[in-house]
Subunit: 439 residues, 2 copies
Amino acid sequence: MDETLLENLLHWLRIPSISTGGGDPAEIERAAQFVVDRVREAGGEGDLVRIGAGNPIAVCELRAQREDAPTVLLYGHYDVQSPEPLGDWDSPPFEPEIRDGRLYARGASDDKGNVIPVLHAACELARAGELPVHVRVVIEGEEEVGGASFSAWTKADTRGADCAIVFDSAMEDEQTPAICLGLRGIVAALVEVRTQPRELHSGLYGGSVLNAAHVLHKAVGRLLPDDLGRVRDELREGVADPSAAERASWAALRPGEAVLEEVGATPLHPGAGAEYRVRNGAEPSAELNWFEAGEARTIVPATARAYVTVRLAPGQRSERIREVVEGLLREQLPQGAQMTIGWHLGDPALFPPEEPAIRIAAAAIERATGMAPVFVRSGGSIPAVADLAAKGIPVIVSGFALAQDRIHAPNESYRLASLELGARAGRELLLALADLPRG
Amino acid sequence: MDETLLENLLHWLRIPSISTGGGDPAEIERAAQFVVDRVREAGGEGDLVRIGAGNPIAVCELRAQREDAPTVLLYGHYDVQSPEPLGDWDSPPFEPEIRDGRLYARGASDDKGNVIPVLHAACELARAGELPVHVRVVIEGEEEVGGASFSAWTKADTRGADCAIVFDSAMEDEQTPAICLGLRGIVAALVEVRTQPRELHSGLYGGSVLNAAHVLHKAVGRLLPDDLGRVRDELREGVADPSAAERASWAALRPGEAVLEEVGATPLHPGAGAEYRVRNGAEPSAELNWFEAGEARTIVPATARAYVTVRLAPGQRSERIREVVEGLLREQLPQGAQMTIGWHLGDPALFPPEEPAIRIAAAAIERATGMAPVFVRSGGSIPAVADLAAKGIPVIVSGFALAQDRIHAPNESYRLASLELGARAGRELLLALADLPRG
């Protein structure tokens, strides 16, 4: 283990850079400044960039020896989720502790521990005069709150990069590294329905007046999937079928039944586990995440609120599906009912395995870890990756997290072995990307 | 105004007999004992009856001069809802104050002020040796919390009565008294669905695992009415059509549109107001009163809860409709989802206008107030009335409350004019019921 890497990580983890509420803006800034300081110490340059009232982004650069080298953008986030409930931690969340080969702290896996090995490798290579690519380090502080700063920065950035590295993802299992080729997009709707100025007595008025819970129940019902979990055709617009080769590669992965069992999930139906890789990687899905209306007594609710999310498969466009979702929600709104909707959108992203950056990355990770990475897709959404993909920048989404790391939960941790794998993979990756064709 | 009546009411209103939480059991008992004391002072007898851990029921009797007189049961409730939010009261809720011909206090209208004139009339008649009917005074303390004590007492009571008076109801308008012939029954279901041991990430698992909110959404959807507010046929089983005469009498009442407008309601559809009397008095209805699941973020909820109430029209049986409701809720429950249901049932009640007690009451109220009472039905449920009706006791449901009394809300009040009308009506009623045929 590289002692400097571990010391740097411990230092970074001690900064409580909480973005999800209850955090201190000064600590947010310290965690961002830490990145700038590391890069400057290694001979690079950089500074904090602020977009509006958002948390600062550390935007830095380590230049390659060769001026015409390709440019690699290293993305990560220094912000963490709040550590509550504090009583459930075996050691304080911002006093990192090593026990049995694991480093316990909030952010240990998500994302400080996952991203710092690549940052460290870039700094060490630069210091040694061996950095073969220009590395633009862009580490943001609003990932956990879906903030808009990074998206705005990417859109405004005219320099771009020849590829990006995002280490915010997981291994397939404790031995097998993975590269995530696809991420789903998202259309999230926060819907509110209002029907009356106030609640009414359900015996005296129910059945004659508009019940906000009924109106919203019906509206969100238009978005929910059938009993097999399949969403209606309008919500499937644009879905790109995965190639036969990619489907075949999923068959070699851990069975979907095992993925569900690992988290104690109840399958949607008997066949849902077997279809997991296709469903989660290449199909849209829709969930009612939240519904809240009325009280458990005899009233007619006057307001009702829900949060519904539609995940988009690669090929779909979030702005188009937003229109479809809004149409379905408003389609049969009765006279006298008001509906307001707040939106959050993210496009899907998909990188072909033949993409030069992906090919180079796969070979580099295999050299570093001794195992060829498997190609996976994730059903989740990483808006930053979609933002980069939208600019035509291929993104290497990888990392050494594991399901056991308990990210976002008490006793979050990261294996020292994962840190080591990350350091080796980060170094090989930066060296190998020198061969990347320049865009 | 009878000064003793007013003083007695003020005394009773000063006792904070709150049953809905935050109340003091000693005050509950004082309010019940107040009834016993009034009856004893008038030469009657009585005591507090306790059923299990329930609030005491004041069970008393004033005997008529003539031993073979009919027996009248006077029902009411001394418990009140908690007065929160206290800051919204213009005067303290348990320090009654008279302003502009209205008496302001919690319980002023519901039910202390509404019931005490009849109690007072019975005591005064007994004191004067002029009481022509035996009066069983049964005033309970769990009406506001749907407690089971009165129901258990009624079922166990072998003496019964020839008719009952329940003054817990309202006038048709400020001038017109009303007798409520029908009350709807209720089947209330508190439903909980559980699908997973814990919440899951909606991107990683949504679409492959059971979402508790989806399961409950679908289940309660089976109970909800169509866009015209009509419930499915299975829930209409047993509905008794009102007679042509009764329908015709509703046409003479205030238009349903005005009833809805009075509370600022948004009609279910353009024709809902015109149909109000039939819908509310003679049709079943169903409401989703409460739905709660998940959080407004990207999770798959593991539990979801709802409160659904079906109001039953006269003719329907609550135990039978409970079976239908349970069948609908459980009908398509997917494998792996658990559903638990808590029930609260109440039968509907209906008294024909030709019923001797009703005919006598209508004439007596007209003599007392100068206005013939109109016959109405209420869409609400008074379980005590259903309990009495189930024993074959005809119930005169009336009273002098008004929609403006703000029952259950801050600044509850009762008109002094209503108190006066109640006293006159109570006296005439007791005198006239001497003619009641004995059961």
